[in-house]
């Protein structure tokens, strides 16, 4: 039975949220052996955009890529095992949480050097355009990444060569603890830069999942039609530390009051409210089972064999 759009979105969002919540719960036990950058509170861009993508499309992102990886269909067991440093992880234990990948699901390896994923995704888009089958690439980046020169260079080149590349700026207003106003003279000018370079852009100021999805729908069909790159900037809110499992509203660099409107407008309970009790309970149960299985898989998996250290330095 094909699931409805609402079911799909709910499932995807809930699956990411719960995966990360469980990850945060496990974290203090030191069984996860990797820095973690959680997307709790800002999953919607990945959920909305990936809902429009198909097999053969690609997504790329940063160290904060659990959401993108899961939304695009990456294996939950393999990403959990990766964070545990196990041989069965999506990178065989060589990448950790910051470097997730799934060529099977169309997830480009994610990168921990801010913005470095952007031109790499453009390279996939170049290959997609060359192949000529209407495939598209979505690259996720933070607001901080838009300050790097290679964001600018990639926008220009993508526009020049009409690459099927969707830039998705997940603007949580922070780079680690530094607010946008300390980093950009025109804090709300990201879309204007893209437009000046020839990349049509849409800004969604309230982080609404459906608004993002509508924008993505228009953008992706333009991409498939070959009219060139598009950009979506979604304002969102990061609820946890930059890195690590906890909340940090008590650290002084931001207040809980700032968070309140975002928590109120959290798309997840809204999606939940729009589902009937039955499909919701079934979906929730499936998610919890998947997470439990993923944790078991990670815990039961063997560590990498020592000789693996020297494998895959070269192809």
């Amino acid at each position: 039975m094909a699931s409805t759009l609402e079911e799909r979105l709910y499932r995807s969002m809930k699956r990411i949220r719960r995966f990360e919540e469980v990850t945060a719960e496990i974290y203090p036990s030191d069984r996860i052996k990797s820095p973690i950058h959680l997307a709790i509170g800002q999953e919607q861009a990945a959920v909305a955009v990936c809902d429009l993508l198909e097999e053969g499309d690609w997504v790329g992102g940063s160290y904060r890529s659990h959401a993108m990886y899961l939304a695009k269909g990456g294996s939950m067991a393999e990403i959990m095992a990766e964070m545990y440093g196990k041989a069965t992880g999506c990178c065989g234990g060589k990448g950790g949480s910051m470097h997730v990948i799934s060529t099977a699901a169309g997830v480009i390896g994610s990168s921990a050097v801010v913005a470095s994923q952007i031109p790499v995704a453009a390279g996939y888009a170049l290959a997609a355009r060359q192949a000529g089958r209407g495939r598209v690439v979505a690259v996720f980046l933070g607001d901080g990444a838009t300050e790097e020169g290679c964001f600018y260079e990639t926008l220009n080149f993508a526009a020049l060569r009409r690459l099927p590349l969707l830039f998705v700026v997940e603007n949580n207003g922070l780079a680690i603890h530094e607010p946008l106003a300390k980093r950009r003279a025109v804090p709300d000018g990201i879309c204007r830069v893209a437009e000046a370079l020839g990349v049509p852009s849409t800004r969604i100021a309230d982080g609404g999942l459906h608004a993002i999805r509508d924008a993505a729908e228009a953008a992706v069909s333009a991409l498939r039609a070959g009219t060139g790159p598009q950009l979506i900037e979604a304002l969102v809110h990061r609820r946890r530390q930059h890195v690590g499992p906890d909340e940090d509203y008590d650290q002084g660099y931001r207040s809980r009051a700032e968070a309140e409107p975002w928590i109120e407008s959290d798309p997840l309970p809204r999606l939940a409210a729009r589902l009937a009790a039955e499909p919701r309970r079934r979906i929730d149960a499936e998610i919890e089972a998947e997470i439990a299985a993923a944790v078991r898989f990670a815990e039961d998996s063997p560590p990498p064999a020592p000789e693996g250290l020297f494998a895959d330095v070269y192809a």
Binding site: K33, S34, P35, G85, K86, G89, C91, G93, K94, G95, G96, S97, M98, H99, S111, A112, V113, V114, A115, G144, A145, E147, E148, G149, A175, I176, H177, E178, K182, R183, R184, Q251, G252, Y253, P303, P304, P306, G308, L309, F310, V313
Partner: protein, 351 residues
């Protein structure tokens, strides 16, 4: 009359104290880089300095390493003395054009009309899944380039003295720190003092084998020396402190005396600091010859995140000791004690 206990500081505090002293003494010194002004303050090494010196002299930046490096160079040529901080050395790869094509060459290609008194602080990460892009010791890339200086203090005393020397230097200095050294303590004199280029430091004395360590590997080498001592091998651990210019003489003297040279780098060996040290020693001693030589460094791979793999990526006290013992007794290296006892040795001097 008892001499007073020397004051002990952590490496991270020593860095902060050096910066504070330099900024208080010279208004042309300023400190900037991503996150230097947040509540964590680069692990504490820049904490409170914005409050003290204001946002014109201590400030964070956009994520724009390339331009920010050019900015620092220009400010330095214009007469200021910038300290530019990077939380990982890996990110210097974004600044190579400015550092190598401009900073290193400015004084020379512009006929001596300008100088670039710039300090670039950066930290090497290790453990807990730092992985491929947050763990690199890239000092060799900078040692290669005339016009740059490179320093890698391995203890709190040198962290302060080298940072003060670097700030006072009229040349661009790549200042390399190691995350795992931050909590380590040594006696650190109050007030300003410099640990300038020119003199390597003998950390332990011994006539059987010379072990040169770089950055964090100095501490690992000292631990290895303790292991070796229990097996009756006297290792002389040398810390070059400054990597460019390099005090080759001290290393040549020691290696000529012990007849065995082990260089342990906190980086890859190929074209690395260890290659340079070996080649420099050999060039100066090849007439007399006969020094047995060995290099250790990062495994010749990318750094993996899994702790089971990462454990074999780095030289450890035990592996250093084994390599040294094999240089001393190539046919029948002695059995070494378990590393547990020496693993906790904290390098606290001598000065």
């Amino acid at each position: 009359m008892s001499t007073p206990e020397p004051r002990v500081l952590r490496y991270v505090e020593a860095l902060r104290e050096a910066t504070d002293l330099a900024m208080a003494a010279d208004p042309s010194v300023f400190l900037f880089g991503l996150d230097v002004d947040d509540h964590l303050g680069i692990q504490g090494s820049t904490k409170g300095l914005q409050q003290k010196y204001g946002p014109d002299r201590v400030f964070t930046t956009p994520l724009s390493e390339d331009a920010m490096t050019g900015l620092a160079i220009g400010a330095a040529m214009a007469g200021l003395r910038p300290i530019h901080v990077h939380i990982r050395m890996d990110f210097l790869l974004l600044c190579m054009n400015q550092l190598v094509n401009i900073a290193a060459k400015a004084r020379y290609m512009w006929g001596g009309q300008v100088s670039v008194p710039l300090v670039v602080r950066s930290m090497i990460g290790k453990s807990w899944g730092q992985g491929a892009q947050h763990s690199q010791g890239l000092h060799a890339l900078f040692m290669h380039v005339p016009g740059l200086k490179v320093v890698a203090p391995a203890n709190a005393h040198d962290a302060k003295g080298c940072l003060l020397a670097a700030i006072a230097d009229d040349n661009p200095v790549i200042f390399m720190e190691h995350r795992l050294l931050y909590p380590t303590e040594t006696p650190v004199p109050e007030g300003a003092y410099a640990v300038p280029p020119g003199r390597a430091r003998l950390c332990t004395r011994g006539d059987d084998v010379t072990i040169v360590g770089v950055s964090n590997m100095v501490q690992e080498a000292v631990r290895a020396a303790a292991l070796l001592a229990e097996a009756g091998i006297a290792a002389e651990v040398v810390d070059p402190v400054w990597l460019r210019p390099l005090d080759v003489d001290t290393i040549v003297e020691s290696a000529s005396r012990t007849g065995r040279l082990l260089v342990v780098d906190n980086g890859w060996t190929t074209c690395g600091a260890s290659a340079e040290i070996v080649a420099a020693v050999v060039e100066r001693t090849s007439e007399t010859a006969g020094i047995r030589i060995r290099r250790l460094g990062f495994a010749d791979t990318t750094c993996p995140t899994s702790p089971w793999l990462e454990a074999d990526f780095y030289p450890t006290p035990r592996r250093i000791a084994e390599a040294a013992a094999t240089l001393v007794h190539p046919e029948r290296p002695p059995r070494l004690p378990e590393a547990t006892r020496s693993a906790s040795i904290q390098f606290r001097g001598p000065f």
